[in-house]
């Protein structure tokens, strides 16, 4: 199956949903280890306490790819992450993450072809507020 066929078959639908409770200790540890110094990210007593903008990147779904997806994840490497930040994540939030494949494409160069898979997760809080869109770019060096 080539990249265009994979894209036709596996993009455009949500293949996984997860729910997760947000704990303040996790927000603080994530922020402080990254070197944040602003109290709105590091101090749970701050009235505007929230997660750093890329906090939700830590959350993965219950499966990385749709069922029957013919690419082996262990052969892929992580080429990057993009976060669109819409609203803050707060301690006590009950987060819902919905996974889909946003894009699949192929690039060719001197060293051969590479298959790019864009795994997208959209995150919402318990009120249905859209918090963030996280795109995870996975690359497999050669398409079988």
């Amino acid at each position: 199956m080539n990249a265009a066929e994979l894209k036709t078959q596996f993009t455009g639908y949500v293949f996984d949903e997860i729910e997760l409770d947000i704990e303040p200790e996790s927000l603080v540890g994530f922020a402080t280890a990254c070197g944040e110094t602003q109290s709105r990210f590091t101090d749970p007593t701050d009235p505007d306490f929230q997660g750093v903008p890329n906090y939700l990147t830590r959350i993965h779904g219950s499966r990385a790819m749709p069922a029957d997806f013919p690419v082996e994840m262990h052969r892929c490497f992580d080429a990057g992450k993009s976060v669109q930040f819409h609203a803050p994540v707060r301690p006590g939030d009950k987060i819902q993450g919905r996974s889909e494949i946003a894009d699949i494409f192929e690039k060719s160069g001197r060293s051969g072809s590479m298959l790019f898979i864009v795994h997208r997760m959209n995150f919402y809080n318990q009120a249905g507020v859209h918090l963030a869109t996280v795109d995870w770019r996975l690359v497999q060096r050669e398409l079988d």
Binding site: V28, G29, F30, G35, V52, P53, G80, K81, V83, Q84
Partner: protein
């Protein structure tokens, strides 16, 4: 070091450098991150296990590198509203290395009132294993 001051949109100049930051990717700090992010796997927190899996040593989680670049922006402009951040992982960033985070303002959209920043993490060899861009808003 003096506390960074909030910025206004009008304060920012095209080509302005963000103050560089020596980021902490020591093993103890990466373990703090890995615990908070539920990523306590050997390739991040155990040099020997990482080497057994073909890596040169434990590597910094990509999302921690991204978080350090976000923190760089907040140290420069504490009140920055980050709209998006996009990072490219070009090569592993090694735990216990001595990277430096830096950034430069590469675009100022006067109509949308959005500022674009190029970001990078350089290691002590002068290589850039992590690079990225961010778009932010500031009051004013």
């Amino acid at each position: 070091m003096s506390e960074p001051k909030d910025k206004r949109f009008e304060d920012v100049e095209f080509g302005e450098d963000l103050p560089e930051v020596d980021v902490d990717v020591s093993l103890p700090n990466v373990k703090v991150f890995a615990k908070a992010a539920r990523m306590e796997t050997g390739r991040f927190i155990d040099h020997e296990e990482a080497r057994r899996n073909g890596l040169p040593g434990a590597i910094v989680p990509g999302i921690m590198s991204q978080g350090m670049l976000v923190a760089l922006i907040h140290r420069w402009a504490p009140n920055a509203e980050i709209l998006n951040v996009d990072t490219i992982f070009r090569a592993p960033l090694l735990v216990d290395s001595k990277p430096v985070a830096s950034g430069v303002v590469t675009d100022i959209d006067e109509d949308a009132r959005v500022i674009e920043i190029d970001l990078m993490l350089k290691n002590e060899k002068g290589e850039t294993p992590v690079m990225g861009t961010a778009k932010i808003k500031l009051p004013g």
